[in-house]
C-alpha cells in the first residue's frame, strides 16, 4: 500500500505554433493569387489527411512542459510556482485530464476535482439556485451531494435573498462569492486549484484561503498554483518550482524555494545593463547605445540592489538628425509582466527639457530609494517620434535590463522582510498627545 497519490514520470507537452512569414515586397497581384491558391490546396490536402492545419508559414515546436517527474503523497498540500509561461497551467490541465500529454505518463490514485476557474459553466440567465446545481454537477458533485450541502453553500456565499434572481443581475462580488462557494464544498480526494484566489475583494480572499487551509487540514491532497507567495507559504508544505517548462526545484522548505524564485542567481536575470551590439536600432533620430543602472555618483550598479539607495537609470545614444518629436523614456514591469508605470523626459515642464544637438547624448533619471518593493523588475527603453513612429516598440524586442531590489527596506527594527504590495514606499508618520 503506497501513499503516493500522484506519480508523474517524464511528463511533457508540446505545442506547435505557426508563424506568419514576412512577405516580400513588389509581389504582383497574380503572384499573390497563385500563392493563396497554393496555400488553399496544401491546406485541403492536410484536411483530407486529417492533419492539423497551422495558421502561418513556418512552424515552431514549443515545449510548454518538459520531462516533469514528481511524486505527491496523500494529504500533502503542494504549491506550484513559476513565472508566466513556466508550464504551471499546462501541468494542471494534464493532471485534470483536460488536455493530453505529448510524452510521459501520470498515475493518479484517487478522485480528482480541478478548479481552474471559479464559476465554470455559470449561465447568466439561470437563477443562483439553478446555477449551484449546474456548476456543482460540472465540477463533479452528484445531485444528492449538492442537495445535502445546499444550505451551507448559500450561507458561505451570503446570497440567501437573491437565490431566485438570474445571476446576470448579480453584482460581480456576489457572482464570485457564489461561484467559489460551490467549489469550496467539493469533497474530492485530490484537489487541483489554479490561481482562483486572485478574485474577489481582500476579505473574501481571506475567507477562501481559510477554506483552502481547512481542506488541507482534513487530510486531502491539494495542488495549488498561485502567484501569491504569501498564500503558498501559508498553505503548502512542499513546493515545486517550474522554469521554462521544466522542474527547477522541489523542496519541502517552502520559504527557501520562494526566495530562490524571487531572487534567482541566474546570470541572465541579474543582467543590469544593455549594450548595443553595433547594428541594433539603426536610425537617424536616436540610436540607443548603452542602457544601465548606476548609483548617485554614476558608478554602474549590479543586481541585487539594496533599497536604501537611489537608483539612476542612464541612457546613452546618438542623434544624427534632430527632430522635435523625439521622446525618450522607459517603462518598468514587475515579475508578472504588469507595467508599473512609464516615464519620459518630456513629462516635466518644457523649460526643464534637455536640449539636444546632433551627436552623443546622455540622459539620467532617478528611481527614488524605498519606492519599489523587493522583487525583480524589467526596465525597457522607450524611444519614439511622438505620434509618428516607434524606435523601440513595446511588445517587440526593446533594449531592456533587469533590476532586482533586495533588502534595505526600512531603517525601523521591524520592517526587514518583504511585505505584500506592489510598491513599498517609506512614508512619514507624525504623532503626539491630543491635549498637549
Amino acid at each position: 500500500m503506497s501513499d503516493i497519490v500522484i506519480k508523474s514520470e517524464n511528463l511533457g507537452k508540446k505545442y506547435v505554433i505557426g508563424h506568419q512569414a514576412e512577405k516580400g515586397r513588389g509581389v504582383t497581384f497574380r503572384e499573390v493569387l497563385m500563392q493563396n491558391a497554393r496555400t488553399l490546396w496544401s491546406k485541403t490536402k492536410d484536411l483530407a489527411a486529417g492533419k492539423a492545419i497551422i495558421q502561418g508559414d513556418t512552424m515552431e515546436e514549443v515545449w510548454a512542459l518538459n520531462d516533469a517527474s514528481f511524486e505527491i503523497r496523500r494529504g500533502e498540500a503542494v504549491g506550484i510556482i513559476g513565472r508566466n509561461g513556466a508550464g504551471k497551467s499546462t501541468l494542471l490541465k494534464i493532471l485534470s485530464r483536460i488536455t493530453e500529454p505529448s510524452t510521459g505518463r501520470v498515475t493518479i490514485n484517487g478522485r480528482v476535482a480541478s478548479l481552474l476557474e471559479v464559476g465554470t459553466g455559470f449561465h447568466p440567465e439561470l437563477s443562483g439556485r439553478e446555477n449551484i446545481y449546474l456548476n456543482g454537477t460540472i465540477l463533479g458533485m452528484t445531485r444528492v451531494e449538492i442537495k445535502r450541502k445546499f444550505d451551507e453553500i448559500v450561507a458561505f456565499a451570503e446570497v440567501e435573498t437573491y437565490l431566485d434572481t438570474p445571476v446576470k443581475r448579480y453584482s460581480s462580488g456576489m457572482y464570485v462569492r457564489l461561484a467559489f462557494a460551490v467549489a469550496a464544498h467539493l469533497e474530492p480526494e485530490i484537489l487541483v486549484v489554479d490561481e482562483v484566489l486572485a478574485v474577489g475583494d481582500a476579505a473574501f480572499q481571506k475567507k477562501c484561503l481559510g477554506k483552502m487551509g481547512d481542506v488541507a487540514q482534513e487530510g486531502r491532497t491539494v495542488l495549488f498554483v498561485s502567484h501569491n507567495m504569501n498564500a503558498i507559504e501559508q498553505l503548502c508544505m512542499r513546493c515545486i518550482l517550474l522554469e521554462k517548462g521544466t522542474i527547477r526545484q522541489t523542496s519541502s522548505n517552502v520559504t527557501q524555494i520562494i526566495k530562490g524564485y524571487l531572487f534567482p542567481s541566474d546570470q541572465e536575470i541579474r543582467l543590469s545593463q544593455w549594450i548595443n551590439d553595433g547594428e541594433e536600432f539603426e536610425n537617424y533620430w536616436f540610436k540607443p547605445k548603452i542602457f544601465f543602472i548606476t548609483d548617485a555618483m554614476g558608478n554602474s550598479l549590479s543586481n541585487p540592489v539594496s533599497n536604501n539607495q537611489d537608483i539612476w537609470i542612464q541612457i546613452e545614444g546618438r542623434i544624427d538628425r534632430l527632430d522635435p518629436a523625439l521622446e525618450i523614456g522607459y517603462s518598468i514591469y514587475n515579475v508578472d509582466g504588469i507595467a508599473l508605470y512609464w516615464s519620459y523626459f518630456n513629462d516635466q515642464e518644457v523649460s526643464q527639457w534637455p536640449v539636444f544637438s546632433r551627436g552623443e547624448i546622455i540622459l539620467r533619471t532617478k528611481i527614488p530609494k524605498r519606492f519599489l518593493n523587493e522583487g525583480i523588475y524589467t526596465i525597457e527603453l522607450r524611444a519614439s517620434l511622438r505620434c509618428r513612429m516607434w524606435i523601440t516598440e513595446p511588445g517587440k524586442k526593446s533594449p531592456s535590463l533587469n533590476l532586482i531590489i533586495q533588502g534595505g527596506l526600512s531603517d525601523g527594527p521591524y520592517w526587514t522582510e518583504k511585505r505584500e504590495g506592489v510598491i513599498a514606499p517609506l512614508l512619514e508618520w507624525k504623532g503626539k498627545m491630543k491635549n498637549k
Binding site: S96, I98, E100, R105, L116, T120, E125, E130, T137, I138
Partner: protein
C-alpha cells in the same frame, strides 16, 4: 467509502478503456446540460415555448399551399395533403434541430471544455434531448390535426418510437463529425445552415417520395432522411403510405455509416479539443 479507487493512468494516445462506463457515470451532467439548454432556450421571449409550435406549423401551411394546391402534387393514398406534409415536418425538424445544435455545441461550450474534464460526447449528446423536447411539443399539433381530419392511426403508430430514434441517430452521426471539425475549422459553422435549408427541399418533406420516378428511387434513398421520413409517414398515415424497402435499408446503412464515422472521428479528436478551441 474505503473502496480502493482504481488507478487512473494518463498517457499520450491512451484510449480510455472505461470511456463508455465514464459516460454513464457522467449521466447527471448529461441531464443537467440538457436541462440547462431547454430552460435557457426561451428565456426573455414573450411567447416562449410557442415558437416550437409556430415554426413547423407555418412551414407546413406554406408547403401544403405550394406543393399541394399550386403544384397539385398527389398525396400518399387518400390521406389529407397537410397531414402528409406534417408527418414529414416532424422528423425533418427533429433532424435539422438536432444536427444544427449538435454541430455547434462544442464551440458554444468552449468555456467548459477548456476548464473541466468529462467525456466530451456528453455535450453534443445533450443537444439531442433539446431537439427531442421540441419534437414532443410539435407532436401536439400532429394530434390536433389528426383530430381535425378525423384520421385514426393504425397499429403502425406503435413503431413510431423506432423511427424517432432513427431520426436522432441520423443527426448525431454527422453532428459529431462536424462539431469536432468545427473546433479546428470554423468553416463548418457556415455549412450547416446551408445543408439544413437545402435538405428541406431535396428531402421528401413537401411532397411524397412516390413523386420521384421509380428508377431513381434507390439513388434518392442515398439521402438518409428519405428512409426516416418514409418511416414516419408509414407509421402515422397507416395503410395510406408504404415503405420502399431496398431504399429504406440503404438509408439505414448510410445512417449507420455516418454514426460510426462521427463517433470514431469524435473520439479521435476529443483529446485535442482543449488545445484547439
Amino acid at each position: 467509502m474505503h473502496t480502493q479507487e482504481p488507478f487512473l493512468i494518463i498517457e499520450p494516445g491512451r484510449a480510455e478503456k472505461n470511456y463508455w462506463i465514464d459516460l454513464w457515470r457522467y449521466r447527471e451532467l448529461f441531464l443537467i446540460l440538457a436541462w440547462r439548454d431547454i430552460s435557457v432556450r426561451y428565456k426573455q421571449t414573450i411567447i416562449g415555448i410557442l415558437w416550437a409550435i409556430i415554426r413547423p406549423f407555418l412551414t407546413m401551411v406554406v408547403f401544403t399551399v405550394i406543393f399541394g394546391r399550386i403544384a397539385k402534387l398527389p398525396s400518399d393514398g387518400n390521406s389529407p395533403y397537410a397531414l402528409m406534409v406534417f408527418a414529414a415536418m416532424l422528423p425533418w425538424s427533429l433532424f435539422s434541430n438536432a444536427l444544427s445544435e449538435s454541430s455547434n455545441s462544442l464551440i458554444s461550450n468552449a468555456n467548459l471544455i477548456g476548464k473541466v474534464y468529462f467525456p466530451r460526447l456528453i455535450i453534443p449528446g445533450a443537444t439531442l434531448v433539446t431537439a427531442f423536447i421540441d419534437f414532443l411539443i410539435s407532436f401536439i399539433i400532429m394530434i390536433g390535426m389528426m383530430l381535425y381530419y378525423q384520421y385514426a392511426p393504425g397499429w403502425q403508430m406503435l413503431l413510431l418510437p423506432l423511427f424517432i430514434i432513427l431520426a436522432l441517430l441520423a443527426s448525431i452521426g454527422p453532428g459529431l463529425w462536424i462539431t469536432a471539425l468545427n473546433v479546428k475549422y470554423r468553416d463548418f459553422r457556415y455549412i450547416i445552415p446551408f445543408v439544413v435549408q437545402f435538405g428541406l427541399y431535396i428531402s421528401p418533406v413537401g411532397f411524397s417520395s412516390k413523386v420521384v420516378p421509380a428508377q431513381w428511387q434507390l439513388l434518392y434513398s442515398l439521402n438518409p432522411m428519405v428512409g426516416v421520413i418514409e418511416g414516419f409517414r408509414w407509421s402515422i398515415l397507416g395503410g395510406n403510405s408504404s415503405i420502399y424497402l431496398p431504399g429504406f435499408l440503404l438509408s439505414l446503412a448510410i445512417i449507420i455509416f455516418f454514426l460510426w464515422l462521427g463517433v470514431s472521428r469524435f473520439r479521435k479528436m476529443e483529446k485535442t479539443f482543449a488545445d484547439l478551441i
